[in-house]
Symmetry: C2
Subunit: 344 residues, 2 copies
């Protein structure tokens, strides 16, 4: 029921790639208003064959505060979708609804597998080599070394499952590439990633310009820095787009040039819009968030992320690495005294 469009987009997304879902054995539980959902399904038999509707009247509004959603959300479509993952009735939940509410309800029902304030959010950024995954761009503002390593573990498993990379490289965002650069947390995380025995293809520190260069497939940072960097870049990209549009309509000559090159430019800008679907990482269960404004294509991309995660070894890989991290932190010898003591 969530997002700007609700049922029409969700059902259209299922119909869109119905052949693929059938081939992969994917089936859908649709939580929400039975009448509205049935009406949509009646128009798309290819979707109807894959879906089962679970009726509820209650819907979390787009502007509801997370605390309010947790208190009054029980039995809503969002709540029931997440609860069905907890009850083992479904393997993943996908929503285009209220992000704060989805985070709060998911955390409440599924609980966190790692020691995070909130689920971590991954941003998918286009780069010179394809796409990279940057996390946390969400709301884990204060991050110690352990949290940063947990992001690395979860982001790597996500990237592997979704971008089918065999051994994605992992980098830590910093202000320089030398060992002594950055603040204490990032230096300790660097040491842990090197020495704690977690199974990751860790390549060391990456500077800001390394994101676009493709210096690593998975780039790890705290939620404050990640959020600022993501939003700053989005702002600059939008600004550049407007400036280019301005430049290409400034005179009839440039307008003509712009019209002639329009196809190529459109293709380029499309590549810059990364695919939709960001998992809430760190939960005991798979929950994927799509943009509120997602159309059928975007929502289908979110379903693909959920299916890829559900059909991969994602959860067990994360668990194995988290256990190794816990073990390393409990044994000061592994990470050489001082550093791990500070972390504990």
């Amino acid at each position: 029921m969530g997002g700007d469009h609700g049922p029409p987009v969700v059902v259209a997304a299922i119909a869109r790639d119905a052949a693929e879902w059938r081939a992969k054995g994917v089936r859908f539980l649709l939580h929400g208003d039975q009448a509205r959902l049935d009406a949509e399904l009646a128009r798309t038999p290819e979707a109807k064959a894959l879906c089962e509707v679970r009726h509820t009247d209650l819907v979390i509004a787009g502007d509801e505060k997370p605390a309010q959603a947790m208190r009054r959300g029980k039995g809503s479509s969002m709540w029931n979708a997440v609860a069905s993952v907890d009850q083992g009735e479904s393997h993943a939940a996908v929503s285009a609804g209220n992000t704060g509410a989805l985070m709060a309800i998911s955390k409440l029902i599924l609980r966190m597998m790692a020691d995070l304030e909130r689920p971590a959010l991954v941003a998918t950024w286009p780069n010179a080599k394809g796409y990279c995954s940057v996390l946390d761009v969400g709301a884990n503002i204060d991050c110690d070394a352990q949290r940063l390593v947990e992001f690395a573990i979860m982001g790597e498993a996500f990237h592997r499952a979704v971008h089918s990379a065999a051994s994605p490289t992992v980098g830590l965002l910093n202000v320089g590439s030398e060992e002594q650069k950055g603040h204490e947390e990032v230096r300790e995380a660097h040491k842990l990633l090197r020495e704690s025995g977690v199974k990751l293809n860790y390549v060391g520190f990456v500077e800001g310009d390394g994101i676009a260069k493709g210096a690593a497939d998975v780039i790890v940072t705290d939620g404050f820095t990640g959020n600022v960097a993501l939003k700053t870049t989005e702002g600059v990209a939008r600004f550049l787009r407007d400036e280019i549009r301005g430049a290409l309509t400034a005179s009839w000559v440039s307008r003509m040039g712009g019209m002639i090159a329009a196809g190529a430019l459109r293709k380029m800008f499309a590549r810059l819009d990364p695919p939709d679907g960001a998992p809430l990482l760190g939960l005991n269960g798979i929950v994927v968030k799509c943009h509120g404004s997602a159309e059928a294509k975007g929502f289908a991309a979110g379903i693909h992320v959920a299916v890829n995660l559900a059909q991969s070894q994602y959860a067990s890989e994360i668990e194995r690495n988290l256990q190794q991290l816990t073990k390393a932190l409990a044994e000061p010898a592994t990470t050489e005294g001082a550093a791990s003591e500070k972390i504990g």
Copy 2:
């Protein structure tokens, strides 16, 4: 003697805007190799009339470590230029040399006026309204609330002097605009900027995308976040430029369009290259750093920054606001108990 080009660029920069320097009463002390500088000046009488050469053989190399530069740099061209500011013989120093060495030597000779690890660096970013000043993008990694407020004070005075804005707006970079957002340091700085009585046109929290939108003229953040945001954006802008170039050369049709629109695109990209010349803020004296690769135009832009700062009330404005901040921090009542105690 510094930068990739040394004397030819420095002298050409002076010659380039000689009429303006004369009109403003600006004169130059050139520190470096007398023979090389004289040879350059002999070719440009308009520059020669404004300059006096102070000979030294010693030059700080581009790859010299700051600590080494401090130990062995005495009597070098960079050292002497900064020392002449300290001795009141000149009003400002401009250099395209080794940044780390310039920071270390300036700090050693001029000392810091505020409680910073190192001088703060300002980045000038193009935005929808013109340019904004973002600081610190340098090396003050760990910043408490007091430091952030000091950046605000210094950045505002810089922006006013250099961009001739009567009352530039000041914003604090954060992950949201509500009071309770962000980490402790940024929330405390917000409170101080509101309540400590420093004379600034403070507009509150600004999110990352506010930089390109022009949400504030001066945007304040810690050196870690600022450095990551700046480098990430530089990387993305370079990536976009390459993608546009790629799109406009992908086929003969788009190539034709690109050629026709080339003039407009070039003009746009030129606007995206902000003017050169970043002051090292927080020193008892004016030191301006130009890019190592600066040509005459860029080095002249650095001189303009130095002249604008030297001919403004820059230093006394900063001092007045810093004194007010110190007073507010010493009187817990002014900023209401808890917050200011933590800061102290």
